[in-house]
C-alpha cells in the first residue's frame, strides 16, 4: 500500500494549483457515521456486560461509572464459556494444521509432478470448486454415524480438514508453480527428497500466503456452528457456537451475564488478531485473490 501511494502527496501538491481543491472532511463524516453504526453492537456488548439486570433495565444505553462495574458477570461468563473455548481452540487449531499439511502435499503434487493421472485428479478437484457442498449435510451426518464419529470432536476436525482441501490446493498450486524452478533443480542435485524440498523451499517461499489462508481457515472453523450443532450431543464436547446457542435459548435472559459471555468468547480472536494485524490491515496481499 505505502509503496504505491507514498509518492502521491508530493505529486498532488504539485498538480493542485491547476484544479479546484478537494476536501477530505465529507469523506470522514460518511466513514465515521457508518463505522460508528457498525461498531454500536460492540459498544452495547461491552457496556451491558458490566450491568446486573436491574441496572440494565434502568439505564440500558449509557455505560456505568467504573466504580459500579459488576465483575461477577465476567466470572460467570468465564466459568461458563472456558471449556467451550478450549474445545473450539483445539478443533480449529488441529483442523487448520491438518488442512495445510495435506493441502501443501496435494498442491506440491499438482505443481511439481508430471506423473500420469495428474490431469484427471486435477479435474476431480476442480469440479468440487464449483460444486456446492450444500444440501449434503444429511448424507454427511449419516456417513459420520456409520463411522461412529457422531458426538466426537474428531468428526469436526476431519470435516474441517476435508472441507479446506479443494480451495487451498487450488490456490497453493499456483503459488508453488511460481517459485523459480532453479531452486528445485538445485535441491534435486543436492539429493533432497520431495518432502525435504517441500519443507525447505515451498514452506518458506509460500509462508505469507499460507499465513493468510490459515487465518481464513481458522476464522471459518471458529465461526462454524451448524455442523457442531448437528454432531455434538454431550455438553462437555460443546464448541463455542453450540454453547452460545444454548445460552441464548434460555427463557430468562440475564443480559449482563450473556453479554459478558459474548465478550469473553471474542477474546481469543482478539489475541490472534493482535499478532496477525498486518495481514488484515495491509489488506490481503494482492496475491491472495489471484487465481
Amino acid at each position: 500500500m505505502s509503496a504505491s501511494t507514498a509518492p502521491s502527496p508530493n505529486a498532488t501538491k504539485a498538480a493542485r494549483p491547476l484544479k479546484r481543491r478537494q476536501y477530505d472532511w465529507p469523506k470522514h463524516i460518511v466513514l465515521m457515521t457508518l463505522i460508528g453504526i457498525e461498531l454500536f453492537p460492540l459498544y452495547m456488548m461491552l457496556q451491558v456486560s458490566f450491568k446486573d439486570t436491574s441496572t440494565f433495565l434502568q439505564q440500558p444505553w449509557l455505560p456505568l461509572p467504573i466504580s459500579q462495574w459488576d465483575w461477577s458477570n465476567w466470572s460467570f461468563g468465564i466459568k461458563l464459556i472456558a471449556p467451550y473455548l478450549a474445545n473450539t481452540v483445539f478443533v480449529t487449531t488441529c483442523a487448520t494444521f491438518g488442512t495445510f499439511f495435506f493441502a501443501l502435499l496435494g498442491a506440491y503434487f499438482f505443481a511439481r509432478s508430471k506423473l500420469p493421472g495428474k490431469g484427471i485428479l486435477w479435474t476431480l478437484f476442480l469440479i468440487l470448486l464449483i460444486m456446492p457442498g450444500v444440501g449434503t449435510f444429511v448424507p454427511v451426518f449419516m456417513l459420520l454415524k456409520s463411522l461412529h464419529l457422531l458426538n466426537t470432536l474428531f468428526a469436526l476436525i476431519i470435516l474441517g480438514v476435508s472441507g479446506g482441501q479443494v480451495l487451498n490446493v487450488f490456490i497453493l498450486r499456483h503459488f508453488i508453480e511460481d517459485i523459480p524452478k532453479d531452486l528445485f533443480e538445485a535441491a534435486e542435485m543436492d539429493g533432497a527428497s520431495h518432502f525435504q524440498r517441500m519443507v525447505h523451499i515451498v514452506i518458506p517461499m509460500a509462508a505469507p500466503i499460507i499465513g493468510t489462508l490459515s487465518i481464513f481457515a481458522f476464522m471459518g472453523g471458529w465461526n462454524d456452528f451448524m455442523m457442531p450443532l448437528i454432531i455434538l450431543r454431550d455438553q462437555e464436547l460443546f464448541t463455542l457456537g453450540v454453547g452460545l446457542i444454548y445460552l441464548e435459548g434460555e427463557y430468562v435472559k440475564p443480559w449482563g451475564k450473556i453479554m459478558a459471555t459474548y465478550f469473553i468468547s471474542s477474546v481469543p480472536l482478539l489475541i490472534m488478531l493482535l499478532f496477525t494485524m498486518k495481514f488484515f490491515v495491509r489488506s490481503f496481499s494482492a496475491g491472495a485473490v489471484k487465481g
Binding site: 506440491y108 454427511v140 453479554m259
Partner: protein, 315 residues
C-alpha cells in the same frame, strides 16, 4: 521417445503419488461420497435407520408440489435481491478510504474495520437479535425517541396493513409481515469487512497518475468511481458476488437462529436449506431431505455455471 521418458518419470517420481493420496481420500470420502449417497437415498422413503422402502422418483415428484419448498425459493429470491443491495456499502466504504489523502487516516479506518471481525459471527447475530427485541431492544427505542413510530402508524392506517399500532411495541421477529423487512434491515449499515479489505487490495493497483490525468480532464468524483475505480475492482466484486450467491442459496443457519426451524411466524423466513434441515432433523424424513438437497445442489450448480459463463470479467 515419449514413452521412455514417461517410464523414467514414474520410476523416479512415483513417491509423489503419496503426496496426493491424503487429500484425495478426504475429498472423495467427505465430498464426493455424500453426493452419491444423497442421490442413492433420495429414491427411498427413509427414516434414517436401517429400514427403507424404494419409492422411485416419488420424492422428487413430491418436491415439485411441496408448497413450502416452492415458496422458499420466493424468499431466497428476495434475500438475493436484498444481499445484492447490501453489497454496495462495502464498495463505497472501500473507495472512500482509498481516496483519503492521508495514509495515516487510511490506516486508522482499516484498523477500525478489522475490529468487528474479532466478534464471532454468532455473537453479532445474537446482539442484533437483542437490538430487535420488542421491549428492551435498541431499534424500537430509537423509533420511539425520534417520533418515527407515529409516522409508521399513520402510514399503516392509511394503507390498512394492520402491522404498526400506537401503543404496541413493534415485534420485528414476531410479526409474519415484518419478517422479510427485518431480514433486510438486519446488519445495517451492511459493511462486510472481508469485502472492504478485498476491494482495497484491488484499488491499490490504481496508480496516482490515473487520478492526475482524470483531474486534468476535469472529471468529477462520481465519474471517477464509474470510469476508474469500479472497472478495476470488478474482479473482486464478481468474486464476492459468487460467494454471496452461494452462501445465500445454501445458507440457513442465520434463519434457524434468528427465527426457528419452521422459518419463524407464518414460515415467512423459510429458505430451502432450512426446509431440508426441518424435513430431516425435525420430521425425520431423511430420504425426502436427500432429494431436496440434490435439487438445491443442482440449482446452485446451474447458477454457478451461468455465473462463470456470462459474468466473466477479463482482467
Amino acid at each position: 521417445m515419449p514413452r521412455y521418458t514417461v517410464h523414467k518419470k514414474i520410476l523416479r517420481d512415483w513417491p509423489l503419488y503419496f503426496f496426493i493420496i491424503p487429500s484425495l481420500v478426504l475429498v472423495v470420502t467427505f465430498q464426493y461420497y455424500p453426493v452419491a449417497s444423497g442421490f442413492y437415498h433420495s429414491v427411498f422413503e427413509w427414516g434414517g435407520g436401517d429400514a427403507k422402502r424404494f419409492t422411485g422418483w416419488e420424492n422428487y415428484g413430491r418436491a415439485f408440489t411441496d408448497t413450502t419448498f416452492l415458496n422458499s425459493f420466493k424468499v431466497i429470491g428476495l434475500l438475493l435481491i436484498f444481499n445484492l443491495i447490501k453489497m454496495w456499502p462495502s464498495v463505497i466504504i472501500a473507495v472512500l478510504i482509498h481516496r483519503l489523502k492521508s495514509d495515516r487516516w487510511q490506516y486508522v479506518y482499516r484498523v477500525l474495520l478489522v475490529v468487528p471481525m474479532i466478534v464471532p459471527s454468532l455473537v453479532s447475530l445474537f446482539i442484533w437479535k437483542f437490538l430487535l427485541d420488542p421491549n428492551i431492544g435498541g431499534l424500537n427505542a430509537l423509533i420511539e425517541a425520534t417520533g418515527f413510530k407515529s409516522v409508521l402508524v399513520a402510514v399503516d392506517n392509511f394503507f390498512g396493513w394492520g402491522v404498526f399500532f400506537e401503543d404496541v411495541p413493534i415485534a420485528w421477529l414476531g410479526q409474519p409481515q415484518l419478517i422479510l423487512p427485518t431480514l433486510f434491515i438486519w446488519g445495517f449499515p451492511w459493511i462486510g469487512m472481508f469485502g472492504v479489505l478485498l476491494y482495497l487490495a484491488g484499488l491499490q493497483s490504481i496508480g496516482t497518475e490515473v487520478y492526475e490525468a482524470a483531474d486534468l480532464d476535469g472529471i468529477g468524483p462520481i465519474q471517477k468511481f464509474f470510469y476508474i475505480e469500479l472497472p478495476l475492482i470488478l474482479t473482486q466484486i464478481r468474486l464476492s458476488l459468487i460467494l454471496m450467491v452461494m452462501n445465500t442459496l445454501g445458507g440457513f443457519g442465520f434463519q434457524l437462529l434468528m427465527l426457528n426451524e419452521a422459518g419463524g411466524p407464518g414460515g415467512r423466513g423459510m429458505v430451502p436449506g432450512l426446509w431440508i434441515y426441518n424435513r430431516s432433523f425435525v420430521a425425520g424424513e431423511f430420504g425426502y431431505a436427500c432429494a431436496l438437497g440434490i435439487i438445491l445442489g443442482l440449482i446452485i450448480l446451474g447458477l454457478t455455471y451461468i455465473n462463470n459463463r456470462y459474468i466473466r470479467i477479463d482482467k
